[in-house]
Symmetry: C3
Subunit: 357 residues, 3 copies
Amino acid sequence: MALTLEQISQRFGGEVVGDAALKVAGLAPLDQAQPHQLAFLANPKYLSQVETTQAGAVLIAPGDLAKLASREGRSFIVTPNPYAYFARVAQWFIDLASPKAPAGVHPSAVIDPSAQVAPDAVIGPHVVIEAGAVIGARARIDANVTIGRGTRIGEDSHLYPNVAVYHGCNIGPRAIVHAGAVIGSDGFGFAPDFEGEGEARTGSWVKIPQVGGVAIGADVEIGANTTIDRGAMADTIIEECVKIDNLVQIGHNCKIGAYTVIAGCAGIAGSTTIGRHCMIGGAVGVAGHVTLGDFVIVTAKSGVSKSLLKPGIYTSAFPAVGHAEWNKSAALVRNLDKMRERIKTLEATLAERGDNA
Amino acid sequence: MALTLEQISQRFGGEVVGDAALKVAGLAPLDQAQPHQLAFLANPKYLSQVETTQAGAVLIAPGDLAKLASREGRSFIVTPNPYAYFARVAQWFIDLASPKAPAGVHPSAVIDPSAQVAPDAVIGPHVVIEAGAVIGARARIDANVTIGRGTRIGEDSHLYPNVAVYHGCNIGPRAIVHAGAVIGSDGFGFAPDFEGEGEARTGSWVKIPQVGGVAIGADVEIGANTTIDRGAMADTIIEECVKIDNLVQIGHNCKIGAYTVIAGCAGIAGSTTIGRHCMIGGAVGVAGHVTLGDFVIVTAKSGVSKSLLKPGIYTSAFPAVGHAEWNKSAALVRNLDKMRERIKTLEATLAERGDNA
Amino acid sequence: MALTLEQISQRFGGEVVGDAALKVAGLAPLDQAQPHQLAFLANPKYLSQVETTQAGAVLIAPGDLAKLASREGRSFIVTPNPYAYFARVAQWFIDLASPKAPAGVHPSAVIDPSAQVAPDAVIGPHVVIEAGAVIGARARIDANVTIGRGTRIGEDSHLYPNVAVYHGCNIGPRAIVHAGAVIGSDGFGFAPDFEGEGEARTGSWVKIPQVGGVAIGADVEIGANTTIDRGAMADTIIEECVKIDNLVQIGHNCKIGAYTVIAGCAGIAGSTTIGRHCMIGGAVGVAGHVTLGDFVIVTAKSGVSKSLLKPGIYTSAFPAVGHAEWNKSAALVRNLDKMRERIKTLEATLAERGDNA
């Protein structure tokens, strides 16, 4: 499977400099690429590698091309964003090379007669699709996935094995949902119904019904074993082009703004709004009922307990250091009030002596 | 589907004030409710909304009813806990409106002949129930769930899709287990069997067999993709009315006391006992082999490394602040010992000068 | 089911002292064991329990046996590591007592004709095995597991229910993979393709294809609902005898060295290398693109943001204390720069006065 630079540029744009009929059969980094491969210069500091690479052709930004000492024997596709261009071309090669699952419903799948499955969708073995669900064109639903009643899966979406989408949810087009993800589980809400205090307390927690759904926009990717709870009354909302990594928890009635990325092991408690274009680091925790503005970045392992409305980078994590050193610092932190008292005493003594001088 | 206030109060208690024959068809917040809906006053600060609401009837506490300027044209159900009452009525409306899955075993389910499944249980497609398992009356086992050999699922329990319960576990009545949860996986225990030090170390980790089970009391709810390990020798124990959110890890031989709630992404290491009526915040970590007393509250993102026996609120998390500001504080924390030395020097100098004065 | 001490020592080594024909029917701790049971002394501080135990025989280290006041009426298996020996014997008893699943493929499983399944493997109900996959001898694949195309599962491995292994992965012999684990999901990588700043920003995230696999060595155990992402170009690597607990996230292109153990809820970001014989505590987060050397220990809840090359124990977690006390310390931490300024002022004043004296 090989493609000419012309074919590639016709599909993804960019200008061919050099031999438009040159064929490439795949992509590789500059320092590993062979003459039948397409390389890319994503970071200008590797410009010198473009001079020495074995690659048949290179994806390059116009400014970087201009800096090259020699273009001898090499062809280029010039594009303002070679890294994104690389990603698109690489995906195309993969799509061309991957075996196509035949459209249709595997005989072991259990599809309610009232569900609508597009004829060109691919429904894998042991899939369960409940009443009134709608599966869009070219959607691919892998083995052992369960789609609840009335849930809609957008066209060109791909749900990997063992995904569970509860009833009444809506997933937009081109979604990628990785294995084991759960969408639409009940939010965590209970009304206390207790009497008495302390050990004499009796009663129970009464479950608050969760009757909202989950509304997920276009081009969203959701990681393996991530969980997104349904809303209590209104929907939990994930806007378009949000990217969520593995093992992330999104509580009920959260709203995650478009283009926001959330790294693995993060948890967003209920009724919290995260703006557009945010970056939430790995293992970050965000409290419930707070708001993060657009373009907020929270670094890994930090905890957010209050609203952060202004764009910017926010942090609350310490980096690990030697255990003994850490313990010493931690003990001092616990006794900071004593240190402050000693400073106060010093100040008072000095002031007194100054007065007396 | 509409119910009279009388029907509701006959089922859940409370006193009707006004028109007991008034029909309501659902619930809504005070500020959104329509005349055919039942609203509720959970927080006295919204008392004025009771005067202006369009709701046909309002759930209200006796003390708040007494404070109302006018009850004109409105009916009430008077109950000491309107929020819990709301939750119960809302659940009833949902139950009435939801399609009932027919009792019985889906033909694609694989049930061992020695398993006992109550005739009114609902066993979904592709469910697997192994030898000797017992499924209680009216239990609902959703698609792709696996129940291990000898495991018992209590009456009226609901296991959502893709739940796995290993062999030899016991889940009490009225449990709700959300999709992807795993109950009874092996605890994390290995005996080191190594010789030599440093790079010369050879040997391996030897798995400690985990032969206890998991014993879960009545009215427990377990969140999506949460994991509860089986005990090493004795059982891991989850007492009645414990509520566990999504992506929570409970280690082997933990005991979680009744009515305790554990928020998402928390992790409880092995052999730890948590008391009754505790509240464990999101992403909290509790070390192994410690004890938390009854009524202990640990705030989100905190880490517990020692036993906390007294009731109270415990914390160890910093809230995120601007990145530069945080880095400055963090650097000072790392150098607190130097700050302490400077204070010591100041004190010594001052003492010396005082002596000399 | 009972075994003589001789049978046990023939299988696992060690020297029998006392009655080699004595039969034991199981294992128990020293203080609970009965005459038909085998106990073990793992910790010398319980030596006195060996004198009083009811156990028929005791696993003991040679040095501890020598310290015993009396061996009267008791038999021993002498071994340098009684705890590891106990684990092995206990596993043998379990294997002898457990019902054996018959070899073969359950009729409800869906196996691609091009997949190779060893005739003595056990393939459970509703399992899906895609084209070209290879299942090794005596492997046990439980209900609802999905194995992607071309993936290889080593001999004697056990995959519990609902595990998903994507295409092109390789799991070594004797692996144990607990329920709901996901192996080979896409790494979290996107190229930004945006133009404009702030609210005028337009564009999207472009997915970087993830074409590496996951290569897992021999004797690895992977916990329930843990996720291990496939590499972007090269493989994600888990070396032999790595033990990973539940709900752990391993990012793309990580390399985890042999014998390392990773406790529950930990997260390792992409392209990070962790050495051999490391211990990563519960809920630890490790940033991407860093290296941990061999024999590094990171305590629970800590965050690692830079490489830690030297063996040793590293920490960054504070233990929870009373909420009010914590808040006081936290406020002082935020104002440490002011404290430092006050010390500076004191030092300057004192220096000035000293000069003037």
